[in-house]
Symmetry: C2
Subunit: 250 residues, 2 copies
């Protein structure tokens, strides 16, 4: 049985805990949090410490905090010569303090506390400085997920940019669709089968093959009408720019 | 048993035929197509006519052709005083020739010939000039789908703009994500669980609640790094504009 410390109490930790609780191979030793109150919502009290200095050495330490805080927190870990990893998509491995052996354990998924997910399907992207540590991370990752990848810092960084497009920006497209519906007294539900099928299609067709709509057909009568329809200047700009980009790639 | 003529042989007709074939209430009388060869791939030869003048009067005529051709084709229908509808999201009912009674039968879905769909889930948006015809369209729609809506031309037009955002533009975000992956030797598959969950989330959270990522967190360190990473000028512009738009709505 290996032991794990976690630092942080955000959405990633919430879902990671649920997955780790099912494991008989790994035991959580402690979880260091900033705010006791917030953490008590989902972390057993006996695991919580509110000062990072209270953490005792473990096999693996997972830092899951906002990107800007990773460096300082890794500096403040009160032990050395142990495996310490962060869970960030954008942060280089090297930002971690080298008093510990360094690695990355990046779960590529959109986590919200109020929405359960199947952790088994979450791609876990791993990086470590040496083969032994990479193997240890692989064992942990294989215990939690069926999609485990080894990626370099550079690959992980580019993957994160891609993820912003296919998830954060996609959600903003839903947001704009919802705004348009509300302004015209149309239930957003009417769009849900289309949203579902658009995402599902990508399992059968490449994004290039799957592209439909007035832009790819160069149906300027329709795209002009849509641009004229959009009163919100930012949405109009987005419409024009993405239409142009679709047409560039035909 | 009611009879139906169809004009067109595109993706919508392909999927509509499969749904209509399951019905015992409706019978396809004829399908008018431009190119016999293309149509033979999925339309029984005995139904096909290649000249619109060969069409005989039916209960309902469905025009499913490119938006620009709807008006002329409705002019050329060789009968009158029958119910004629188009399947376009953007075209007003009034564009149809008023020698026939006019309506709209708009299936809100992204159709590709090589990708089967469940027509029962496709929202069908109806419009007609009189109550009787609307009822007839409702009966047909209820036979084919569980999601039937009555929308005005103005509502349908705005819905189509919303659909472009949540489907066509979303697919272009997948396209860009795929491009970034390919350029960095990362399998696109790694993004698929994220794509699936992003679409699925919308069934539990509003797009506003579901928004995650560096933009909504105003994490400028990350968004600046992403902008610098993007070499393609159009993708960089898209990144900046959508980031700005997400932040405007926080």
């Amino acid at each position: 049985m290996k032991t794990i410390n976690i630092i942080g109490a955000g959405n990633v930790v919430y879902h990671l805990l649920q997955a780790l609780n099912k494991s008989s191979q790994y035991k959580i030793q402690n979880i260091a949090v900033r705010s006791l109150e917030k953490a008590l919502d989902f972390i057993p009290e006996e695991l919580i410490v509110t000062n990072i200095n209270q953490l005792k050495k473990t096999d693996i330490t997972l830092i899951s905090v906002t990107d800007n805080a990773i460096e300082q927190i890794s500096d403040n870990i009160p032990y050395k010569d142990s495996l310490v990893v962060h869970t960030s998509g954008t942060t280089a491995l090297e930002i971690l303090n080298d008093k510990n052996r360094r690695g990355v354990f990046y779960p590529l998924q959109t986590f919200s506390k109020n929405k359960e997910i199947s952790f088994k399907e979450v791609p876990l992207c791993l990086e470590a400085e040496n083969e032994n540590d990479l193997n240890d991370l692989k064992k942990l990752a294989d215990e939690l997920s069926e999609n485990v990848y080894e990626l370099s810092s550079q690959q992980r960084k580019s993957l994160h940019v891609a993820a912003v497009f296919v998830s954060n920006f996609v959600n903003h497209m839903y947001y704009i669709g919802n705004e348009i519906c509300m302004a015209n007294n149309i239930p957003f539900n009417i769009l849900k089968p289309l949203i579902k099928e658009t995402a599902n299609k990508i399992n059968y067709l490449s994004p290039e093959e799957a592209q439909t709509g007035p832009a790819v057909r160069f149906d300027t009568k329709t795209t002009d009408a849509h641009e004229a329809f959009l009163i919100n200047e930012t949405y109009k700009e987005i419409y024009k720019l993405i239409t142009k980009s679709i047409q560039k790639n035909v």
